[in-house]
Subunit: 347 residues, 2 copies
Amino acid sequence: MKGLVRGERSRRVLEAVILEYIKGGVPVGSRAIAKKYGLSVSPATIRNVMADLEELGLLYQPHTSAGRVPTELGLRVYIDAILKIQQLSIADREQIRRSYQGGASRLEGLLQETSKVLSSFSKQAGVVLTPRLSHTVFKRIEFVRLRASMVMTILVSQAGIVHNTVFEIKEDISQEELDKYGRYLNDMLQDLALHQVKARLLEEMQKEKVLFDRLLSKALELSQKALQENIENSELYIGGRTNLLDNPEFADVEQMRRIFNAFEEKSKIIDLLDKSMSAGGVNIFIGSESELLDMESVSFITSPYASGDEVLGTLGVIGPTRMDYSRIIPLVDYTAKLLSKMLEETF
Amino acid sequence: MKGLVRGERSRRVLEAVILEYIKGGVPVGSRAIAKKYGLSVSPATIRNVMADLEELGLLYQPHTSAGRVPTELGLRVYIDAILKIQQLSIADREQIRRSYQGGASRLEGLLQETSKVLSSFSKQAGVVLTPRLSHTVFKRIEFVRLRASMVMTILVSQAGIVHNTVFEIKEDISQEELDKYGRYLNDMLQDLALHQVKARLLEEMQKEKVLFDRLLSKALELSQKALQENIENSELYIGGRTNLLDNPEFADVEQMRRIFNAFEEKSKIIDLLDKSMSAGGVNIFIGSESELLDMESVSFITSPYASGDEVLGTLGVIGPTRMDYSRIIPLVDYTAKLLSKMLEETF
DNA sequence: TTTTAGCACTCGCCTCTGTCGAGTGCTAGG
DNA sequence: CCTAGCACTCGACAGAGGCGAGTGCTAAAA
């Protein structure tokens, strides 16, 4: 990839076009570059270089006699080969840390706050994917009798995620008995990952069938029901949607509608974030790379977050392809690390 | 208010203008009304009537030689005095009930689904305000030791609302001991409203101070901490935001931004819904009546929902003032009642 | 007194036109 | 290999003019 742009000068021109385009959002011409980027060559020369870059597919002209705009490939090359990612300034870090002041006492609150931090520092939309229950470690199960034959199950994971389900049972069970079930299960399931819990329960049910122990089989049945629920699902917090309205490329209502539809639908975005969960470090999807159809002019910058060794979810920033990558990449990186640290300390 | 529009004909003209305006979204002229609404008078007569209505402040002209548009007051008069609210058709009801099929096993899911139902049937945005914890009846409290000196409190209300908080304590407490606290508190607080729970706890703490019972005073202290959390807060589910983009009056990006900002901010909308919680039945706020500044062209139609006698929250539809009130008012009404019924059955 | 027909007038919307300026590609000369 | 010069292209913008919907007013009819 790096070989695509051979000369030092080509690189500098590409960089200049991209920086200028990110700043202004309009096609950039040869003159502007010659002037502002101290390359001390004439516009005509720049034009020749730009023509070369266009042939390589890194730039393109919206129409004859307009300036150049970077293509997705151009941005990709820029990010991979030219952009030097510097650290976030001390002041920025300080300010981000301060946004969290007060400390969150609920996981939901912490994650939601994170989406706001991401959005307000990037001036784009911030997203945070919540942990999947099934990937976390079992901590506790609890049954509450809401009323006759209605039982609520509360499931708590090691990481402090709480999930509850309500269901109907055939016969009424007293709260005392439910408490017994709970104690039994809590002993049995300690320290298993939740997706293991499911298997373990089935296994135990086989055993109990033979023993005909009513209490235990009942307990197993109940918890079985609770887990039938989709513990595979993640939620998605989105902050700063309206920031996107400020981007001139989305002045077009059609574009906007597509993005807001994706926000409403969520599933597509969740899939994407899910994919980038396994890959460590910062991930960047430019335009159509995200494979969210109809989302050509949108980029994602994501990073997974964790608690201890357990990768819990992904967070990131969504914005136009014309985004200030040099600022937002370190932002996402730092925020993911900070969140991980906070989760580890609290949960 | 009714006296404002004296003649039968005036009323019919006002109605015609509003219906036509709701349908088309553009100012309506005298000719269209004379033709379509079978008043069997000439456009010129209609014009005279319209001039009268304008003088009363029920209609206005965006500019000379444009048709008329209803004012907020006009809509208000129409809704209060002219509109006959009919029932939702059997087919519609059936379809709404069917949207809920599968039954919700979690309160959150049920409420979120409701916001979607409201939006898809109204073609506008649907909102549902979640119950406030403090207004519900205590059912159960549970402490979970996450790790050394980190405790999670889980609070369950009679209506099936679950709230959890994590906090740090000075000294480590074993899970067994925490369970004891739980049992003690569950006995003591049974059937109290949550806002009473707070008072009761303080009261008990006074007593225990004298008795120096370590276990009890510790339990009280913990639950006290859990309740310091904002159990006053409500969440807001919003469905179908993007439907609003289809309304031509919001083609203007500025307008749109204001509304989406309010969605993001949420607090203003929560306040409004909160207000209309105490008032029974369907509430309608037209344009500036909602007192959400910068929201002139937006109307709210809301209705509280309950479980048994306990009013839990509010739901409603947000759309342009130019909304199909005759359809949406019964929709909101029916949905609120249906939700109430479902809550009562499940929780 | 109320309703209607006729008419002149207003104003937003659309299209057409011409001008301006930014930016290009090409060529010839340094 | 770089640069200056030049003709050309194309979008953005502003102004002119025509169209059509809709009005208010007046005078006559019911």
